[in-house]
């Protein structure tokens, strides 16, 4: 399988109270369990089934993904910046393997 690589875009700075936009992408084939390979064999299901975004240890949002989410799952969502700190992003694959990424933001 191609290398699974998470990417995140978060502004480095923001004003207090500003609503920023976070963009996340993880390169992943999201094998739905319904497609066949070149030899006609069913490719077993292997997807990212869960995504979580936290700020300073507190959960901001999460997503439960089904096989209908496209390959290379991509999300954008807002966050109200009130304090400097660290975002932690985690993607969980079928079988329990976790991929993580962190980003810092400073206010002011």
């Amino acid at each position: 399988m191609a290398k699974v690589k998470p990417r995140v875009k978060v502004p480095k700075t923001a004003d207090a109270g500003e609503i920023i936009e976070i963009k996340t992408l993880i390169s992943h084939p999201m094998h739905s369990g319904r497609a066949v390979d070149g030899d006609g064999n069913l490719v077993p299901r292997q997807i990212i089934h869960s995504f979580r975004a936290s700020f300073n240890g507190k959960l901001v949002m999460s997503v439960d993904l089904k096989p209908s989410v496209s390959a290379n799952p991509f999300f954008t969502f807002p966050f109200k910046a009130t304090a400097s700190g660290t975002f932690d992003f985690i993607w969980i694959e079928d079988g329990g393997k976790e991929y993580t990424k962190s980003k810092k933001i400073s206010i002011g």
């Binding site: 739905s32 497609a35 439960d64 496209s70 999300f75 969502f77 807002p78 109200k80």
Partner: protein, 140 residues
């Protein structure tokens, strides 16, 4: 809304929609417990025609103050013509300050896409739109 693409097709619906196939309707009923929809404003941004069903952009924007007292707890995306109607469920918190999100989904054929929002006061809202799919995106 700044993120709504000019080429996008927006639909504004406020009632729980129960048309669609039995399976999607049943799943929506399960989520809402059969509750009547609220008049919350949900803007659903979907292409009218998707040439490639492997990656169809879906975006929604829900009018909510996103405070501890009044926020959107979850948003379910369902597609009534896919092998499994559920696409993704977003779980939100007031820390977001606004309620919108974007992702990309697979659509196996022309079908109706539903967004069902669960509010913190126990009410629900939904929006739906039909996407015409030229090349399906669920198999080989």
């Amino acid at each position: 809304m700044h993120w709504l693409g000019a080429a996008g097709f927006s639909a504004m619906v406020s009632k729980i929609a129960l048309a669609g196939t039995d399976e999607a309707a049943a799943r929506i009923n399960e989520i809402t417990g059969g509750a009547e929809g609220d008049d919350a404003l949900i803007i659903l941004d979907l292409p009218e025609i998707a040439e490639n069903g492997n990656a169809v952009k879906v975006a929604f924007d829900i009018d909510s103050p996103m405070t501890e007292e009044n926020y959107v707890k979850a948003v379910h995306i369902l597609a009534d013509g896919n092998p499994e109607p559920e696409v993704a469920t977003f779980n939100f918190s007031p820390a977001m300050g606004a309620c919108y999100a974007t992702t990309r989904m697979r659509l196996s054929k022309t079908q109706k896409v539903y967004v069902v929002a669960a509010f913190s006061d126990g009410s629900y809202g939904s929006a739906s739109a039909t996407v015409k799919v030229t090349i399906g995106g669920c198999g080989g």
